[in-house]
C-alpha cells in the first residue's frame, strides 16, 4: 500500500519547471510519520489512494490502473479527479493534496527553489518526555 500511496502523491506533486516534485524527493520518512498517525487518517489516505489508482477507467476511459498510465494521461486523470463534478471524488483529491502538500511544502529543496527559508525542527517533545533534555529538573517535572 505504501508504494501505491507514493505513486498517487508523486502524480499529484510532480517535478515541474525546475521545481522539484515528490517524484524527485525523498519523502519516505515523513510519509511513514503520516502512516503512523491516527487510524482514521490512515484509512482515509488508503481509500483515496485505491480510488486514485482504480479510476482511470472513469476519468480518462482507460481500463488500466493509474500507475500504468503515460505521464500525460496520468496528469489528465489527476486533474479530472480534482475537478470532478462528484463531490466525494474532489474530497479524495483534497485529501491527497493536503497530505502531499504537508510533505512537499516542508521539503528544503522545494522551499529553496521557491525562495522560501527552510523550516526548523519538529522536536515532538513535551514536559515529562524522557527524550527531552530536562532543564534542571528531573524528567517529567515542570
Amino acid at each position: 500500500m505504501r508504494r501505491l500511496v507514493e505513486h498517487a502523491l508523486r502524480a499529484v506533486f510532480p517535478s515541474s519547471a525546475g521545481i522539484p516534485g515528490l517524484d524527485r524527493l525523498d519523502f519516505g520518512a515523513r510519509l511513514d510519520e503520516v502512516r503512523r498517525g491516527p487510524p482514521m487518517l490512515r484509512l482515509g489516505l488508503y481509500a483515496a489512494t485505491v480510488l486514485f489508482v482504480l479510476l482511470p477507467v472513469w476519468t480518462v476511459f482507460t481500463p488500466l490502473p493509474s500507475f500504468w498510465l503515460s505521464p500525460a494521461r496520468l496528469e489528465l486523470h489527476a486533474n479530472r479527479l480534482a475537478g470532478s463534478r462528484i463531490y466525494l471524488l474532489r474530497q479524495i483529491m483534497l485529501l491527497l493534496k493536503t497530505v502531499g502538500g504537508l510533505l512537499w511544502g516542508a521539503d528544503p529543496e522545494v522551499r529553496q527553489a521557491l525562495g522560501l527559508s527552510p523550516l526548523g525542527p519538529d522536536p515532538g517533545t513535551f514536559r515529562g518526555d524522557q527524550s527531552r533534555a530536562p532543564a534542571g529538573a528531573s524528567a517529567g517535572a515542570s
Binding site: 502524480a11 499529484v12 506533486f13 510532480p14 517535478s15 515541474s16 519547471a17 521545481i19 516534485g21 515523513r30 510519520e33 503520516v34 498517525g37 491516527p38 482514521m40 487518517l41 482515509g44 496520468l74 496528469e75 489527476a78 486533474n79 479527479l81 480534482a82 475537478g83 463531490y87 474532489r90 474530497q91 483534497l94 491527497l96 493534496k97 493536503t98 502531499g100 502538500g101 504537508l102 510533505l103 512537499w104 511544502g105 516542508a106 522545494v110 522551499r111 521557491l114 525562495g115 522560501l116 527559508s117 523550516l119 526548523g120 525542527p121 519538529d122 522536536p123 515532538g124 517533545t125 513535551f126 514536559r127 515529562g128 518526555d129 527531552r132 529538573a137 517529567g140 517535572a141 515542570s142
Partner: protein
C-alpha cells in the same frame, strides 16, 4: 494518592504515567486548559483554592513546538486535525490538544465581546446582568493587562500581507485596523499556527498555568477525561486515563476528587461529549452548535508579498459584522443579512497546496508563485445551527450545514475580497470555488458575484466554535442554568466556548476568557 503521582505532584505537573493509578484530590477540578479552562483555573487559584487542571494534550514549551504543519498537526491538534463537521459537505474543524489549548496555536487576536451580543444574552437568553458590559469590560481590561494585549507595530514584523489589506480597506473608506493581539515582541515569523517558538505569544501555558502551579495547583497533562463522577445529583470528581502523546499507548487511570466542584472547559466539541459520557440526558445537550465558517481568497501579485513573513494575522475589519449584501456587483453593509469578519492570514506553503486548484503540473504552477500570493479571508457569522454528539466509536459526530443566507454572506465577502485584491494590484485572483475558473481577472469578477450557493463548492474551515452546552434560562434550550450550574447537577459547571449561547461575529477567545473568569469569581464568592 498513589506513590508515583506523589513525586510528580511536588513539581505541580504530572505528565504521562504508565504505572499505578493516579489519584488526587483538589477543591476544584478543571477539565481542559484552553482559554476557558486556564481562565477559570487562574481565578480560582488566586482566590486560594487548590485547583487541579486535567488536560488531554501534553505540555509543550516553545522549544518543543514544531516548525512544519505536519509537526503542528501531529503535536498540537486532536487526531492530527482530522475532526470534521459533516452536513452535505465535509468541513475540517481546527482545534488544539495541548496544555494551553487554542491559545497555543491561535493567531492571538483579541476582540472584546460586542455590546449587541451581551444585550442578546441578557434579553433573549435570560442571563440577567451576569455578563453585562461592565462585568465583561472589567475582565477584558484585566486580561489585556495580564496578557500584554497590543497592536503589532507596523514595520517589518507586521508584514506586507497585513499592510496591503489595511490599505485596501482604507482606500474604500471601510474600517480596517492592525489587530490587537496578546503578543509581546512579535518577530513576524508568520507561524502562529505552529505555536510561537520565540515565546512572544502570551498563550496560557506560558502566561497563566505556571501561576496556577505557583499557587499550589496541579496540572495533569496527557490525560483525557472520560467522564464526570456524579452521585446523588452532585459532581464529585472526574475519571480519565493517560495516553502517551507519541505512541498513543494508554497509561494509568486518573481519578481526581473535587471537594467543591468540577469545571468542564474542553471546547465546544469535547465538552458536550464529556457530559454525554457522564450520563447527562438534557434536551439541549449537543445542540445549538455554531461556528464562523471561513474561506480564503488568494490574490496573486507581480511583486513578492512574502506573506510567510509578518504577523500571521495582523489586519482585520468588522465593517460588515452587522451584515453584508451584494447587488449589481457592489457589496454594501446591510442589516438583516448575515455578517462577516475580514482578516488577513499567512498560510504556510504546506497548506496552500490543499487550497490551490488542480493537480500535477497545473498545481505546482499555482504554488510556484507562493511568494507573490496574499491571502485574505472572510468568516461568516453564520445562522446555521448544528449538533455535536458522541459517535459510534466515541468520536465526535458533528452535523453542520450552512444555510443559503450563510452562503450568500460568504459569497458577498469573497467577492469583496477579490475586488480588494484587484484594487491593490493583483494580477489574478484564485477564488478556490468549484464551478469557477481556477483564476479570474478583473473583468471576470462578476463570476464570483454569481458564484454557486452550494456548500460543496466552497472550501470552508471551522476554527471558531460555539455551543453544545449553552447557558440560558429556558430548560429546553440550555444546558447551563443562569446560576451557572449544569442543569440537575450540583457543583458542575462549564467554562469554555460550549457555554456561549450565541456566536459573536468576532474572534472568540477574549469572550471565552472573560466568561470563564466571571464564572470562577462567582464560584470563589460561594455561588
Amino acid at each position: 494518592m498513589a506513590s508515583a503521582a506523589r513525586d510528580w505532584r511536588q513539581h505541580g505537573h504530572i505528565a504521562f504515567q504508565a504505572g499505578d493509578a493516579v489519584a488526587l484530590e483538589a477543591d476544584y477540578v478543571v477539565v481542559g486548559s484552553g482559554p476557558g479552562g486556564s481562565g477559570a483555573a487562574l481565578i480560582l487559584a488566586r482566590a486560594g483554592f487548590d485547583v487541579c487542571v486535567v488536560e488531554a494534550g501534553p505540555w509543550r514549551d516553545p522549544a518543543d513546538y514544531p516548525s512544519s504543519m505536519l509537526g503542528a498537526m501531529r503535536d498540537m491538534m486532536p487526531d492530527w486535525g482530522a475532526t470534521v463537521a459533516v452536513g452535505d459537505s465535509i468541513m475540517p474543524i481546527v482545534q488544539a490538544a495541548v496544555v494551553g489549548g487554542g491559545t497555543v496555536i491561535n493567531s492571538a487576536i483579541m476582540v472584546r465581546t460586542p455590546a449587541d451580543v451581551l444585550v442578546d444574552w441578557r434579553e433573549r437568553h435570560g442571563l440577567g446582568d451576569l455578563f453585562d458590559e461592565r462585568a465583561m469590560g472589567d475582565q477584558h481590561d484585566a486580561v489585556d493587562r495580564e496578557l500584554a494585549v497590543q497592536r503589532t507595530p507596523e514595520g517589518t514584523a507586521f508584514g506586507a500581507n497585513n499592510a496591503m489589506l489595511i490599505e485596501a480597506l482604507q482606500r474604500r473608506q471601510l474600517d480596517g485596523n492592525a489587530i490587537l493581539r496578546n503578543v509581546q515582541g512579535c518577530q513576524g515569523s508568520g507561524a502562529c499556527l505552529q505555536g510561537c517558538r520565540s515565546g512572544a505569544k502570551q498563550s496560557t501555558n506560558l502566561a497563566w498555568l505556571p501561576e496556577v502551579i505557583d499557587r499550589g495547583g496541579t496540572v495533569i497533562s496527557c490525560a483525557r477525561v472520560d467522564r464526570v463522577i456524579i452521585e446523588r445529583g452532585a459532581a464529585l470528581g472526574i475519571r480519565g486515563r493517560f495516553r502517551h502523546p507519541r505512541s498513543r499507548a494508554l497509561g494509568a487511570t486518573v481519578d481526581v476528587r473535587a471537594r467543591r466542584g468540577v469545571v468542564i472547559a474542553a471546547s465546544a466539541v469535547q465538552t458536550p461529549l464529556i457530559l454525554q459520557r457522564s450520563g447527562l440526558r438534557l434536551p439541549a445537550l449537543g445542540r445549538h452548535w455554531r461556528v464562523h465558517p471561513g474561506a480564503a481568497i488568494v490574490g496573486v501579485y507581480d511583486q513578492p508579498v512574502d506573506m510567510m513573513r509578518g504577523a500571521t494575522q495582523g489586519a482585520a475589519s468588522v465593517h460588515f459584522r452587522g451584515g453584508i449584501g451584494l447587488r449589481d456587483g457592489k457589496t454594501y453593509a446591510e442589516t438583516g443579512e448575515n455578517g462577516i469578519k475580514i482578516e488577513s492570514l499567512s498560510l504556510p506553503l504546506e497548506l496552500l497546496a490543499g487550497r490551490a486548484a488542480g493537480a500535477g503540473h497545473a498545481l505546482i504552477e499555482r504554488l510556484a508563485d507562493a511568494r507573490h500570493q496574499a491571502v485574505w479571508i472572510s468568516a461568516v457569522r453564520a445562522e446555521a445551527e448544528g449538533t455535536c454528539r458522541l459517535g459510534l466509536f466515541g468520536q465526535p459526530n458533528v452535523r453542520y450545514k450552512p444555510t443559503q443566507r450563510d452562503l450568500r454572506a460568504l459569497r458577498a465577502g469573497s467577492h469583496l475580497l477579490a475586488a480588494l485584491h484587484f484594487e491593490s494590484g493583483a494580477r489574478v485572483v484564485r477564488p478556490g470555488v468549484f464551478g469557477l475558473p481556477a483564476e479570474i481577472t478583473p473583468d471576470q469578477l462578476h463570476l464570483l458575484a454569481d458564484g454557486p450557493l452550494d456548500n460543496r463548492s466552497w472550501t470552508w474551515v471551522l476554527s471558531h466554535l460555539f455551543g453544545g452546552a449553552v447557558m440560558g434560562k429556558d430548560p429546553q434550550r440550555s444546558v447551563v442554568a443562569p446560576d451557572l450550574h449544569v442543569r440537575g447537577v450540583r457543583r458542575l459547571h462549564v467554562a469554555c466556548a460550549a457555554a456561549l449561547p450565541t456566536s459573536l461575529g468576532v474572534n472568540p477567545q477574549h469572550t471565552i476568557l472573560a466568561v470563564a473568569r466571571i464564572l470562577a469569581e462567582r464560584l470563589a464568592n460561594g455561588a
